[in-house]
Amino acid sequence: MTITTTDEGSSPLPFGLLREHGDGPASKRIVVAYGFWIFILSDMVMFSALFAAYAVLSGNSAGGPTAPELFNLHNVFIETMCLLLSSYTCGLGVLSAERRQLMPFFVFTAFTFLLGSAFLIIEAREFAGMIEKGAGPARSAFLSSFFTLVGTHGAHVTAGLIALVYLVVQVIVKGLQAAVLRRLLCWSLFWHALDIVWVGVFTLVYLMGASH
């Protein structure tokens, strides 16, 4: 009965999520990833507002320090590499989990966590150094928008690391069951998306700011 009802007409899934080549509705894995993808895109729309604010305000330094004086591209390059490599190990970790290889999963996930933490530490030290130099978020419109944009990205990375710990605990306690694998898949989408946002940040904020 359950099979005949899903054949035509009465599927609980929207029409667009049905496979075109007729082997039934899309798997739960694909539907869940689609829903999470919508969330990620809405997050991107939020980031676009912060990018727009930065693009508009980046010249308004109110007589205070400007972008070329503040940004250390050496640190930014290390940050970028940390995040890129953590994205890579995150992908490999989820792949190992899907192949039921527990040990590689833990190793790759540990690397992901360490590289993500390294990114956050470098960013926190950069922020602390800027505030020490009197270039805090209250100094100028440029710095307000800078701290809001880069800080929101950093907050996302922090949330991602916390979620990663939570998911590793789930893998240990519940094992690699389907629901946990789907959560891992969604988490990896989130992490890769953060890397995409960072591409925008280091290009628009740091490289364009420093090359003026």
Binding site: R19, V45, A52, A55, D195, M208, S211
Partner: protein
């Protein structure tokens, strides 16, 4: 019945084999391309390789290329029928992002040029 029903959606026939289109190789290719794009961005911004006024354009092109690499190799947006919906949603997201950023920059630049000189 509800457990059975759940099962039907969780294990559609034929899904198991193509559960993951990814491989270590595709991630490694993606990483290599992303590293090249990142390195090129930093080099372009720090050297006179490009004509000065062309640097922002070069940086934006490199960033878009890298975002494409991320989407294809890390997020696995491909031409398969499974990612059609994801790509449609992405296209809509890109439209909104473009409208918000380009619209804000355009409007504020206009307002700035209409300001009285101080």
């Amino acid at each position: 019945m509800s457990a059975d029903h759940e099962q039907t959606f969780d294990r559609t026939p034929g899904v198991e084999e193509r559960e993951s289109t990814a491989s270590y190789l595709s991630y490694s290719v993606g990483l290599a391309l992303a590293v090249v794009a990142t390195g090129a961005s930093f080099i372009v911004s720090q050297t006179g390789l490009l004509w000065g006024p062309g640097i922002p354009v070069g940086l934006i092109v490199l960033a878009l290329a890298q975002i494409g690499v991320h989407l294809v190799f890390f997020l696995h947006l491909g031409s398969g029928s499974d990612s059609t919906n994801n790509i449609l949603a992405l296209a809509f997201g890109v439209l909104i992002v473009f409208l918000v950023i380009a619209g804000s920059v355009w409007i504020i630049a206009n307002l700035n040029s209409n300001m009285m000189p101080s």
